[in-house]
Symmetry: C2
Subunit: 323 residues, 2 copies
Amino acid sequence: MVNIKDLAKQAGVSVTTVSRVLNNHPYVSDAKRQAVNEAIKATNYRRNINAVHLSTGQTHLIGVVLPFLDHPYFMNVVKGITQAAKAKGKHIVLFETGYQHEKEKSALTMLENKQIDAVIFCSRSHQLKTLEAYASYGPVVLFEDVKTNKCRTTFINHSRVFTEALGYLYDQGHRRIGYSVYRQTGTNSLARKKAYQSFLVSHHLSYNPDYVFTGCLYAEDGNALINQLKCLTAPPTAILVTSDQVAAGMIISARNAGIKIPQDLALIGFNDEPIASLLDLTTIKLPLEQVGQSLLDQALGKQVSHREMASTFIQRKTVEANE
Amino acid sequence: MVNIKDLAKQAGVSVTTVSRVLNNHPYVSDAKRQAVNEAIKATNYRRNINAVHLSTGQTHLIGVVLPFLDHPYFMNVVKGITQAAKAKGKHIVLFETGYQHEKEKSALTMLENKQIDAVIFCSRSHQLKTLEAYASYGPVVLFEDVKTNKCRTTFINHSRVFTEALGYLYDQGHRRIGYSVYRQTGTNSLARKKAYQSFLVSHHLSYNPDYVFTGCLYAEDGNALINQLKCLTAPPTAILVTSDQVAAGMIISARNAGIKIPQDLALIGFNDEPIASLLDLTTIKLPLEQVGQSLLDQALGKQVSHREMASTFIQRKTVEANE
DNA sequence: GGTTGTCATGAAACGCGTTTCATCCGTTAT
DNA sequence: ATAACGGATGAAACGCGTTTCATGACAACC
């Protein structure tokens, strides 16, 4: 294997000059630059990436922490992150945690040990403070709407999105409106809860705990949700479902249960996953790939920044029946 | 940052001995081993991973090449690979290619440049010969059933699986049997085609090109397939669908089109994706996570090996209607 | 003419763990 | 008693690119 030293000898310059050519630095005369380039070609030189890493102290590895890989929501974020990473010559290290504390911690420890340059939390179970404490070791990026001057964030204003969606359902005549989430305590869920409660108050509706469904993530959970619904004497007439997966499960189960959508039950999903268009599901599209790109961008950035991403309401046929 | 040299001084031993302790090598006396371990604790020493990489010449990075990330099939393989990688202290570099030649090539080039230690092809568009040529630079692992003594393989015998499934449908009385695949030219598709043709011959059935559906990968494609079906005067009474995604799309579209499943159309899916149980889809489960683990294992192994993985027939309600 | 500044260039320091090789010592085998 | 061998240990070589700092040359400015 030829190295930069051989190259220098071959081109009749110093290793510094070679390095400068390699990294496109200024202050190299055209003659020498060309000589180096020729030597590179002649020797089929390959830069030793490990030596670069040792020298620069960077690993070019970005940790990506998420609970589940097998869900379109996270998958799309990862897709965006991966694309952006490739463009920047970075690699990603996946931490599929299932919200286990220790697994999240292992990502933080790797950041502390400089085994990764930065870490992106797509979702977390650790406290914000814990993550902030590690921000001194390297960039910590969050996909959630929290106030912090230590971590970078890209987020969706779930509070506003939820409020708007609830308002839309209200305007369609719905008065018994429910919603589903996965966790009760995540930042997003908390924001939604707050928005929901505020909405009820401002519209003079009473709170019914039976209208709030938790643990909903996959299509099977939508199936279970429909079964729960059947036990209610006054079931909700509309539900905001925080994943199209779940909504899809609901639509399929509802058919079997003889529940007509949207007549008996209106649904609004989230994410605009592929299944949504197939089932004509009205949904709120989130720009997850862009979110991923943004997250990676922030992971590489110098400054702490905060970015809000917009969502899009996609009207199909699970709220209003008319074509 | 303390380094191995400081550590050696602190413990009163040579760097070699420290290295031996760090790597659990034999031939270190208990006394020295303990002294080193104490020094490690006292100084909060962290091994510089980049120095290790430079020294060993390994990157601990494994390339994973696949066409699409957003499909349960590949996602599950990646999941298995990622899990196994974590256990072995390796990291994965994803190459989402969309079957573009150049993108696949970039993975091979990285292998050549020693930027990754090995590369796993979950699916490929390049010729086998091309991949084999790169096997001299590092392990090349394939998820397909091909004869090669240069690349390692983990595979499913799609030919046998297909033959069995076709036989099952035949025994159920079906004589107009079709199948769907994504690509026409992939190893798996070719194996299936062969199995299909052989099956027709041995069962004295005639070949009808209208019964072979290509370009089927996502649920939407299942929707399109049903539309195609409606144009046929003698549509197949049973279809082998090589992804539950597609089968799911078909089931949903079939309902809207008034096609009864399984009475009018029997379906067997593949992969046992989550949606399959929800829709009571009879399917052939592939152990994709285990496949992923095996692939990674082979990527790290010294020897070229070939492993067949078994599939499982999961009977639900899209072939036989009874009970 | 002297000062200041820009461009060009290379020597040397820096980052750090792994592994080979030589050596020394004590023990077992002959 | 002596050769042979295994265990223990450290010096030194190896892997290699980046970056700081010093220096020289030349142009521009006062």
